[in-house]
């Protein structure tokens, strides 16, 4: 991987399903340390765009590069060492313990016949501790609550230790304390470990607080991207959500209230 190349780069990217276009000719670059918030209405194409960025769907046109190379050139395994993806929905068909579930995150770091070592176990235990699940190691995942499962998925992603985090609603199902804790965690990964983060969020105030850039997806193919302070304004957000908002400022932070 080219260390100087941006962790995520799209060129003339067009994404859509059938006749519906979500974005056209999108040029986006995300360097180490940058945090991008993706905002838009339900069904505007945020998750579809994210899965294209993760290499799970082919774009209608244009290309996606991670660490300077395309997914096809890297192959599945090397890609997995660079980008991690947090899905919105999960189904667990089989019973499994929390520890075993988070251990699958180590897969790209092991060779074909390899078994997880003590070092892998330590990385996974640290990840579980980071999401406040340290006591849950031996619990069956099918007995976890929605928010606990969400945090387990985040721990699995942390165990994978990618440099590019693509997060689809990372704070869904979480209580307030854990919403902030998880966003702090990803902001910290960007600040301290040189990760890049792109996340779908539904709360503009949290995007304002934890991200430095925002991508607004209007759902008709129109997209806007720029620094959060320029993007997250009352006018733009009211147009984006098609609902009038007002901004409230306190302690140097902004939150947005529906009128």
């Amino acid at each position: 991987m080219n260390r100087d190349a941006p962790l995520l780069e799209t060129r003339k990217l067009s994404v859509g399903i059938g006749d519906q276009s979500f974005c056209r000719d999108l040029d986006l670059t995300l360097h180490a340390g940058e945090r991008l918030a993706i905002l838009g209405r339900n069904g505007a194409g945020k998750s579809t765009l994210l899965s294209v960025l993760a290499g799970l769907r082919a774009p209608q046109a244009g290309e996606v590069r991670i660490g300077g190379a395309s997914y096809a050139a890297l192959g599945a395994r090397k890609s997995a060492l660079i980008r991690g993806w947090l899905p919105q929905a999960r189904g667990d068909a089989f019973a499994s313990t929390v520890l075993e579930t988070a251990l699958v995150g180590r897969h790209p770091h092991l060779d074909r016949w390899g078994w997880e070592t003590e070092k892998d176990a330590k990385i996974v235990r640290d990840a579980l501790a980071a999401v406040d699940l340290a006591e849950f190691e031996q619990r069956d995942i099918q007995t976890l609550s929605g928010g606990e499962r969400q945090r387990l998925a985040i721990a699995t992603l942390l165990a994978q230790a990618p440099r590019l985090f693509l997060l689809d609603e990372p704070i869904a199902h979480l209580d307030l304390k854990h919403q902030i804790a998880m966003l702090e965690l990803f902001a910290g990964a960007a600040r301290d470990c040189g990760a890049a983060v792109a996340m779908v969020l539904h709360e503009p105030a949290l995007a304002w607080r934890f991200c430095d850039r925002a991508l607004l997806i209007h759902g008709d193919g129109k997209t806007e991207t720029g620094p959060v302070r320029a993007m997250l304004t009352v006018d733009r957000l009211s147009a984006l959500y098609q609902y009038p908002l007002q901004a409230l400022e306190s302690d140097g932070r902004v939150s947005f209230m529906p009128r």
Binding site: S79, A80, G84, G91, F94, V104, W115, E116, A121, Q160
Partner: protein, 329 residues
């Protein structure tokens, strides 16, 4: 935490069980042969009636039974991962239905054993290709679509089987019914099925950690570095061939492919690195034990072993289901 050491210990214990089950099969029967004579028949050269029975009747049948049980259990665990459904079994994709149609056609036209086996195998292959082709038609792969196609093809095969049974002359009916119920009395050539069992296991094992990821969902597996489409095609092929080989040799023996992976998963967890070989060993042992019972409970008459596995399997499965639902409450 899964470790190689724990896996090897469990596999060693199961290998011991396999040896025990085969020893039991060699000893028990219409004449009981003590273990010392079994050992001398296997490794010695002396000629005796007991030695002849062990070497040319019981050993091939026990080994063929072991291989078929192992293949069915292995195919069952692979398909449960592929379909992400703990209740999938090797027959859910219509493979045994196709084999059944093939075998009954051969029986109806009075082919010999080789003809019946060949025709059953062709039927299994045909069903496999039809299901794969239809489910894979536009390149997309969903578990539901594969499952539904398999179920429909199986239903179609069931109708054809019923049609042939209803027009078959009376003297052929018994043979046809025995074939359909699963029967090891014709299984006297274990080499091929043992080879297929070893081949499928050796092919699947290097991919077993990737299979673990597949149980978490295709997209999850893909982002963690698995080439999902290639892996799924391979799993489908391996499981189908394993099923086809077992069904061709022994008819459609029910419940081994469903119960054994399920039991093993409850006992040792859902790590495919351990689950796949453990299922093969446990499935083989269970079928050998069931076949020994089928030969001995109302000896000298023999029961079709498929009836016994179903009689053991149904209550065991119902027990597991109710226990599972109670535990989750």
């Amino acid at each position: 935490m899964p470790t190689r050491r724990r896996a090897l210990l469990i596999l060693a214990a199961l290998a011991g069980l396999a040896v025990l089950s085969i020893a039991l099969a060699l000893m028990a029967g219409s004449i009981n042969i003590p273990i010392s004579e079994v050992v001398s028949a296997l490794f010695g050269t002396q000629e005796s009636m007991a030695g002849e029975v062990v070497r040319s009747l019981r050993l091939p049948r026990a080994l063929a039974g072991f291989a078929c049980g192992g293949l069915l259990a292995l195919a069952g665990s692979l398909l449960q991962v592929l379909l992400r459904n703990p209740l999938a079994d090797p027959y859910v994709l219509g493979i045994s239905g196709g084999a059944g149609v093939g075998a009954l056609v051969a029986l109806l036209f009075g082919f010999g054993l080789a003809g019946i086996n060949g025709s059953a195998f062709l039927g299994a292959l045909a069903a496999m290709l039809v299901v794969f082709g239809l489910a894979h038609g536009d390149g997309s792969w969903t578990q539901t679509r594969l499952l539904l196609t398999g179920v429909i093809v199986a239903a179609g095969c069931g109708a054809m089987v019923a049609l042939m049974l209803s027009i078959a002359p009376d003297e052929k009916l018994r043979g046809m019914l025995f074939w359909l119920m699963g029967d090891l009395s014709q299984a006297n050539d274990p080499g091929l099925v043992l080879g297929v069992l070893a081949a499928v296991l050796l092919l699947a094992l290097p991919f077993s950690r990737e299979l673990n990821l597949l149980t978490r969902g295709a997209d999850m597996a893909q982002t963690l570095g698995v080439q999902v489409n290639r892996l799924r095609r391979g799993v489908y092929l391996a499981a189908s061939l394993a099923t086809a080989a077992a069904v061709t040799q022994a008819g459609s023996i029910g419940f081994i492919g469903l119960i054994v992976p399920h039991l093993v998963r409850l006992a040792v967890g859902n790590d495919q690195r351990l689950l796949l070989p453990a299922s093969a060993l446990a499935g083989g042992s269970l079928l050998v034990i069931a076949d020994t019972l089928a030969r001995t409970v109302i000896a000298p008459q023999q029961l079709p072993v498929g009836v016994l596995t179903a009689l053991i399997g149904v209550p065991a499965f119902l027990f597991l289901l109710t226990r599972d639902s109670q535990r989750r409450r």
